[in-house]
Symmetry: C2
Subunit: 673 residues, 2 copies
């Protein structure tokens, strides 16, 4: 009998979990497709959405391919010039990371565009069946992301020799760079697309032509629904994929730099495996109990996943690897996600005092509502930041910088469940759009709207994890960068660090500005196209002619991809340039500044936008006079301001801070000392 | 014959310059009062404004006294408990700093409320005479600030023994704490007052009752004009007084900590003396040439002051103290002020492309205009930040951390001129208000409006100096804190530094939120009072009864002072609490985070607000359809959003970052190691 070491067992377990996650995703998808897709009109609308989403993704992937080719070339060139740690191995890992992220985004989006119409059809029968389908769609995305992320990392570690040999970590970080690069296109490009289409469709449809939301006569209506899929499904998936892989790479790099033995390198993989198992159990529970109590099912599923993960992490870290301190760091990460989610819900949840204050301010006009919303977002930054600060202090006290990386892993290990919950929102949204455009009875639309509302609290946890994990991952990558750069301290009294930090803190502002303006320009182009179609074929408005949906999708796609060139070059180019010109310490300052400014600004924008959205809904539900009053009009204006803040610029910052860190980590051999 | 050393000569020169500055301010004020104050109606309006401003300041000073007493008690108590560097000497310096700032704010405000009506009267004759009076009013503020700041510092150094003995620096830093405390009340409280009154007067006057701006029937009209004096005159003066004194203290503390000899300690004082002389020459030139070419006079005055200061600084640092490197750092500070001013003008100046873009966006409604304005502000952060980063790198390369402090001194030494230019804007504004309320011919109002426009470029330089000097001063104080705390490095890899920085970066957001909400609440109370007066005495609206202006001023005053309690306690309490609980390194992180987040956010808000203001004016000048169009209404909404951003929250951050740093510097003996 051959003796199997603890590390080999753990590694095998991780590979097995990854394979099972992918198998489960495939099986779920196959089962999902067998649900009835509804009548012919529904199929037509759904087909147009699926086609548009595919068109966006394939064109986006074309742009990604170019970007990936350039960076891969740079990696190969640097390797040939003799920079240690760069070269074919890193380039290959980079391409693999990009491919894995692309594949999971594509799978998630494909399934989402199947699930939307089936959710609409199931909503005829009730809330429970609809929730089960929408949730299953989100689950496919979640398990694909987790399976490809964990499996990819494990395979690379195997391929590059000893899975725990420190020498291989340099190359493996290329995998995270690939994930980041795709996330840039999927999340930022998708965010521009989704809000550009949304704002454009609203401006020309609702305001100019008095069409209701999701009216089939609006040529931009399909583009609007495509946006939900490319931004909120594929984009969100790529965002968490980046965090997931980034946290793993950071833990490995810090562990390797500490000259640690195998535990530091294998434990994170094992934790991710535990996360996949816990998420699977939680998802089964949601599916089993959704029919009886849809709202409770989601909450219970999250709780069970969390509890199982804590128990499993105790087994993995505390028992198998014998470190209660490591377990503590992992648990702190999970706790932080819950706290940030709870704070987010308290600050922006429907009917909460801050949201009521915004709704009340709308009574004094749009400007006062916007100011109150912006102020609310600003005020909401400090508590999550303080919670993160305490978690970092705790994790560091328990296990040093490695503990911070473990906290990030702990937050991200149950990613599959988070994405299942997060993904079902846009699917339900889409189902509502299809119900509207295909002329289903109004109670179907009511149910899909309630589906959205059901998951509000759980969605807040998802948002908390997206921002919180971006912050922790970026911080862990920052520490990994310092280790790889052989910087013993990053001293804020050094001028290059301070100068880097000053510029770094301004980068999130610049990036947000670019994202916001991109939304505006995309919306303008869409408006012009819709006006052109109405003018050329007046029958469209009477319902007598089918609008050319495809052109609107095409225009939004082109605009979104064009508009993200500048931010993309900025996020990748700035750390590179700073490193080449001002050296390693300046890059460290740049990353620190971007992290500090980015986290605060991202929280502000996400919460301001969320609260303005809910304030509008609060008034629409009848408060302060309800629909049709000047207060409602003011709230709609505030919501229009808040929308791109929360759905484009805010999430874009998650990507920015991670991408800058990973670029620095990978390319550090090129930087001046 | 007694030999006089170089240091004694320089010190005597500094004292002499301070005395001359004060004498010049007194003489200017006396001459200003002799100008004709206009007819009886003008005197009545001006009297009400002066009375209101005095009422605000005396009540604010009451609150300050309480705050000062508490902090002074804390200093004395800490001294009795045996903490070195704290005790009666520090407490006395603290009270002296507060008194000096109060005195300069009071003097500036008193003169401004004399100058406004005389400017209106002079505007009957032409632009030149009006400019001369308004500018002289600003000059009184400027020379009082510079004279009391430099004189106070010099006297304290003398009083506490050897003017250059390192031991005395600890106590002298109390002077800067006093200045900061008053600045908090004057700038933040004044900012809340001024925008609360402005928004309140507009909401109830222009929108509800269709009264024009500055109509005598509006009970809030006087409060609105009082706001210009307490916020933009006294508040701006206190802001720059704080920077001026803070930069000196930082240079002294860094010089002393480096164990340097006298030059490091005396040179900054001498530079301030040179600054006073150059400002004086510049002011004389403006007065002499204002009649012929008002717009050019201001520009030439600034240029001459700058050129003379550079020459004088070369004599002082390069020749007398023999350090070309020190001179270089000083010159970099001045250059940075000009660059930031130029960038500000480019980003927010009337008719500039970014402003036109906001105006154009207004054509698509208020939400799009607000988004474009916010994005513009965000995009405008990076270039000034990069310029500051380069200046810091340069100054540090030339003269270490002391060089950074010297750059701050170089930026601030010509403060008298900056305040003269900056103070004349609100005086001209007030003159316009008086002209309107007293029923002067319309061409008088036109001239006062043009007066405002004339100084736009120079005012941008003033704004650049306010933010830039706050950043440099806070950074220099940060370095001084590290020296006093015996922190050899402030290492971002240490968890307490990172945790402190995360919280620190969120503090400016929280502070801004408090300021914005305070404006809203103040405005609401004012609106309620005006409605009450209209309802109780309908004759007011017909012009048949005099409104109770005093009550409106009183309500705004109470509200503003009540609303600033929380931010005040936050700014002082947070560094104290962090130091007591988490120790010195965590405070360093907190300060760094606040500085990084604060500078970026302050620039964003100032520039977003400035651009939205100018976009509205651009449309009012006839672009995109001009007044009365939906585009104009959208631009007005955007301007209402931008106003509290640029006039309350943005300037408040200047105070926040300096105050937190100086609190940390003074109280460091109490902090855990």
């Amino acid at each position: 009998m051959v003796a199997v070491s603890r590390d080999e067992l753990a590694f095998a377990f991780a590979v097995l979990a990854a394979v099972l996650a992918l198998a489960w995703a495939a099986w779920s998808a196959a089962r999902l497709v067998r649900h009835p897709p509804g009548d012919r009109r529904m199929a037509m609308v759904a087909g147009a959405i699926a086609e548009g989403a595919s068109a966006f993704l394939s064109r986006a992937y074309g742009s990604v391919a170019l970007f990936v080719a350039v960076l891969a070339g740079l990696l190969l060139l640097a390797g040939r010039l003799g920079h240690p740690g760069l070269g074919p191995a890193t380039a290959l890992a980079f391409v693999a990371g990009a491919a894995a992220s692309l594949a999971s985004g594509y799978a998630g989006m494909r399934v989402a565009t199947c699930a939307n119409v089936r959710t609409a059809e199931a909503a005829r029968r009730g809330l429970g069946p609809a929730l089960r389908i929408a949730f299953a769609g989100g689950g496919v995305l979640g398990f694909t992301v987790a399976g490809l992320g964990l499996g990819g990392m494990a395979l690379l570690l195997l391929a590059y020799g000893n899975p725990a040999a420190p020498a291989s970590v340099d190359s493996v970080s290329g995998f995270a760079l690939g994930a980041s690069t795709v996330a840039l296109f999927a999340r930022v490009g998708g965010g521009i697309f989704t809000k550009g289409a949304d704002v454009g469709a609203d401006l020309v449809g609702k305001i100019e032509s008095a069409l209701p939301e999701d009216d089939a006569r609006n040529p931009a209506a399909i583009a609007d629904n495509v946006g939900d899929n490319v931004g909120d499904v594929a984009g969100m998936g790529a965002d968490l994929f980046e965090s997931y892989v980034g946290a793993l790479v950071a833990a490995l790099a810090i562990g390797a730099a500490g000259g640690a033995g195998r535990p530091e390198l294998i434990l994170p993989l094992l934790l991710c495996a535990v996360g996949i198992g816990s998420a699977w159990a939680g998802c089964l529970l949601v599916q089993a109990t959704a029919a009886a109590d849809p709202a409770g099912a989601l909450r219970r599923g999250m709780l069970v996943t969390g509890a199982l993960f804590v128990a499993g992490a105790w087994w993995a870290a505390g028992v198998l690897y014998g470190s209660a301190r490591d377990f503590g760091a992992v648990a702190l990460g999970l706790l932080l996600a819950l706290v940030i989610g709870w704070l987010t819900e308290r600050a922006t949840g429907g009917g909460r005092p801050p949201v009521v204050a915004v709704a009340k301010a709308a009574g004094s006009g749009p400007a006062v509502a916007v100011i109150e919303g912006l102020a609310l977002g600003m005020a909401s930054v400090v508590l999550p930041a303080a919670a993160a600060a305490l978690a970092i202090l705790g994790a560091h006290a328990l296990a040093g910088l490695y503990g911070v990386a473990l906290a990030a892993v702990g937050m991200l290990a149950p990613t599959a469940m988070v994405l299942a919950v997060d993904g079902y929102g846009p699917i339900a949204d889409n189902a509502g759009g299809i119900a509207e455009m295909a002329g289903l009875p109004p109670d179907v639309r009511e149910r899909t709207d309630r589906l959205d509302a059901v998951g509000n609290t759980t969605a807040a946890v998802g948002k908390g994890i997206a921002i919180g994990s971006a912050a922790l991952t970026a911080l862990a990558l920052f520490a990994a960068y310092a280790a790889e750069a052989h910087l013993r301290a990053i001293d804020l009294l050094e001028p290059s660090v301070v100068a880097g930090a000053l510029v770094g803190a301004s980068v999130p502002f610049l990036f947000s500005a670019a994202a916001l303006r991109a939304v505006g320009r995309t919306a303008f182009e869409l408006v012009a196209e819709v006006r052109r179609q109405f003018a050329a074929r007046p029958a469209i408005l009477r319902g007598g002619a089918r609008p050319d949906y495809g052109r609107c999708v095409d225009i939004s796609t082109r605009a979104a991809l064009r508009e993200m060139r500048l931010p993309g070059v900025l996020a990748v180019g700035l750390p590179l340039l700073t490193g080449l010109v001002f050296g390693r310490a300046a890059v460290a300052g740049l990353l620190a500044g971007a992290l500090l400014g980015g986290v605060a600004l991202a929280l502000q924008m996400a919460n301001a936008g969320g609260a303005m959205d809910n304030a509008k809904k609060y008034i629409e539900a009848g408060a302060f006079g309800g629909k049709g009053t000047p207060a409602h009009a003011a709230a709609v204006t505030a919501d229009t301001v808040g929308d791109p803040l929360k759905d484009t610029a805010g999430p874009a910052l998650n990507i920015l801070i991670k991408l800058m860190s990973i670029v620095a980590l990978v390319f550090v051999p090129l930087f001046r000392r």
